[in-house]
């Protein structure tokens, strides 16, 4: 009987991690629906980006207040995970504060003290984040795409984190009381700069009640963490894991450099080569159908773009810097990312149900992202610059414009006029190329 809690704990841990793994594998499968991209270049630059942008949060602090609060929560969660390690060992083996018996007492006390201080900072950060969303109502959290689930999701995450931190501090407070009562199993360990102010609330409680509080907080805390871990998959919060690979795979060439389509290069080269026989049969082994130009659905995007979609945490910094959005147009770069993820998830569900993707008569274009949004973009790169985790909404907009223009000839009519001018006379306006140097002699 005495091992029952160890067994229950191990089952809960295995279930929590197991279910999470299943879902992560789904994400990987979905991302692989995109086409492969070669990201073996610029390795040093990529790692340096991970260190600066992801680990170092360099883009978060462009806005100092949320940047600082985010660092509280980020550092808090990373460091407090050392405590979770101890909790897991204790849970499996029935020990209590096992690291105390391994580490020097001074170091252990220092660690516990820093966890407590960080827990308080996380609590402060999260409460202020909640205030910014719900009381101060910062504009970027109240845009049209933030209605319903995205809005609730953001708040649920904050409640989760508040509860976890309170449980952690409560557990330590009760532990302290038990330690001072000299209860067996509760070795005197740790230093409690924050929870010492909670402990007096427990004065006069019996040993049994204190143990129930301590064990209750301990169990709820670790179960809460496991539930939260599994909540990630259903929420916008995956960035706590995916931000790192996403930054690694982020753009490492100048932002103004858009990729040249190789499939087009081949065709243009053939068109310009006077020696090509226009009636030649395609070479043996050549792909029968020419590649589709641009993107109308998520399968036409790259794996990096799909990883971008899962990484987006809907902070809306991109949208708040977007000139089109600022001036009331429908385009919101954040919505581009949210739509991409929603469509990808829909396709993932379809595969789960049917074993393979059964066409559902829908696509990313029109069913999720409208043409009006796509044509409102000025390609100014403000969204790309603003993203704290190197997401590139502009590349998706560009791919979808390519589909509209090259597969559907569906550019706005004024653009067609300009493009015809470029084609006929080498300028977007109807001037003759032979007049290009007339300015020399004009006044």
């Amino acid at each position: 009987m005495q091992y029952i809690s160890n067994i229950l704990f191990t089952i809960a841990l295995a279930a929590g991690i197991g279910y999470f793994t299943i879902n992560i594998r789904k994400i990987i499968r979905n991302i692989k629906l995109g086409h492969e991209v070669d990201a073996s270049d610029n390795t040093a630059q990529r790692w340096s980006n991970v260190v600066r942008i992801a680990l170092g949060q360099s883009k978060m602090v462009v806005r100092p207040i949320p940047g600082l609060l985010h660092i509280f929560v980020y550092v808090g969660f990373v460091i407090i995970n050392i405590e979770v390690l101890e909790i897991i060992i204790d849970g499996i083996f029935g020990t209590h504060r096992v690291l105390f018996s391994i580490l020097p007492a001074g170091l252990y006390n220092f660690l516990i003290a820093s966890f407590e201080i960080l827990a308080l900072l996380v609590l402060v950060g999260v409460i202020l984040f909640w205030t910014r969303r719900n009381i101060q109502k910062l504009q970027r959290f109240w845009k049209p795409e933030m209605k319903g689930w995205p809005k609730n999701d953001g708040n649920y995450i904050l409640y989760f984190e508040m509860v976890l931190m309170v449980l952690f501090l409560t557990m330590n407070a009760a532990d302290q009381s038990l330690q001072s009562l000299g209860v067996a199993h509760y070795v005197e360990a740790g230093s409690f700069p924050i929870s010492q102010f909670i402990a007096p609330l427990f004065n006069g409680l019996s040993e049994g009640t204190l143990i129930i509080i301590e064990r209750g907080a301990w169990w709820l805390h670790i179960l809460g963490i496991l539930v939260f871990l599994n909540y990630l998959y259903f929420s916008k919060h995956l960035h706590i894991i995916l931000a790192f690979p996403n930054v690694y795979f982020g753009k490492v060439v100048p932002k103004g450099k858009f990729k040249n389509l190789d499939s087009v290069t081949n065709e243009v080269k053939m068109m310009m080569d006077p020696n090509v026989d226009p009636f030649a049969a395609p070479a043996e082994g050549a792909a029968d159908a020419p590649a589709k130009f641009g993107a109308s659905d998520v399968m036409d995007l790259s794996r990096i773009q799909l990883l971008n979609a899962y990484t987006c945490t809907e902070c809306g910094r991109c949208t708040s810097e977007c000139p089109a959005n600022i001036t009331g147009k429908k385009l919101s770069p954040r919505k581009i990312m949210m739509d991409t993820r929603d469509r990808l998830e829909e396709i993932g569900e379809n595969i789960n149900k049917n074993g393979e993707f059964k066409p559902d008569g829908k696509q990313l274009l029109d069913d999720y992202i409208t043409r009006e949004e796509l044509w409102a973009c000025t390609t100014c790169n403000a969204c790309v610059e603003a993203c704290p985790v190197s997401i590139d909404p502009l590349s998706i907009i560009m791919d979808m414009r390519q589909y509209l223009v090259m597969e559907q000839s569906a550019a706005p009519s004024e653009l067609n006029v300009s493009m015809t001018n470029i084609e006929n006379n080498g300028a977007p306006w109807p001037y003759n190329q032979m007049d290009r140097l007339n300015w020399e002699n004009e006044n």
């Binding site: 100048p254 243009v268 100014c380």
Partner: protein, 263 residues
Amino acid sequence: MSEQIKVPTMAEYMAQGKKPEVLFWVGCAGSFDDRAKKITKAFVRLLNKANIDFAVLGTEESCTGDPAKRAGNEFLFQMQAMTNIEVLNGYEIKKIVTACPHCFNTIKNEYPGLGGTYEVMHHTQFLKSLMEEGRLKVEGGKFKGKRITFHDPCYLGRANGEYEAPRQLLQKLEVELVEMKRCKSRGLCCGAGGAQMFKEPEAGNKDINVERTEEALETAPKIIAAACPFCNTMMTDGVKAKHAEDDVQVLDVAEMIANAEDL
């Protein structure tokens, strides 16, 4: 204007068996747009003054393909690019300077993959290097102490990380440089990029150029300095929309330097 400007073409150079130090890529706006042509001429006057051995392609130049590419027409872009690259490579061009950030970005970043690799400079970078080499002298002149704000072109700034060259030129003019709230890497687009110049904007509650002009006017400038022919048009229209054209001018950095010298 004082004396006739000298604009040799590559064809003339070729005929004489010479090669210029640098090719001046004029661009469509610089060739055809009435406002932008003034910038082109101001820049040429500076090149003449500094005795730069340069040439233009003239009638052999064609659109870089930037608006086509950003509109999604990769075919048209690559046709333009490859045609231009054939001309440029035929003349064995090594170094290009242009007063248009869109041409600058496209030739610098997107032509190499199609066989056209050159050293490409924006005219503000080129003028800055001329000054550093002592080939061009710039002093405050008539702009000394004037309150001026600089609007970052997206395709020079964010797209290629060049924020300082135009500002250093303005500082040489001894102006009082005031920054807008959104500047440098967070600068707001004028609204013309991504082929927007050639179409009506989508429905919204304001035009982007008006939003940006309002921001510029908040700094109470005498001049809004630009470094892109399209930004220039957008900001000029914005200033007119705010009925501020009697108090605020929109000038290219090159024009300011040429004007300061009374060229």
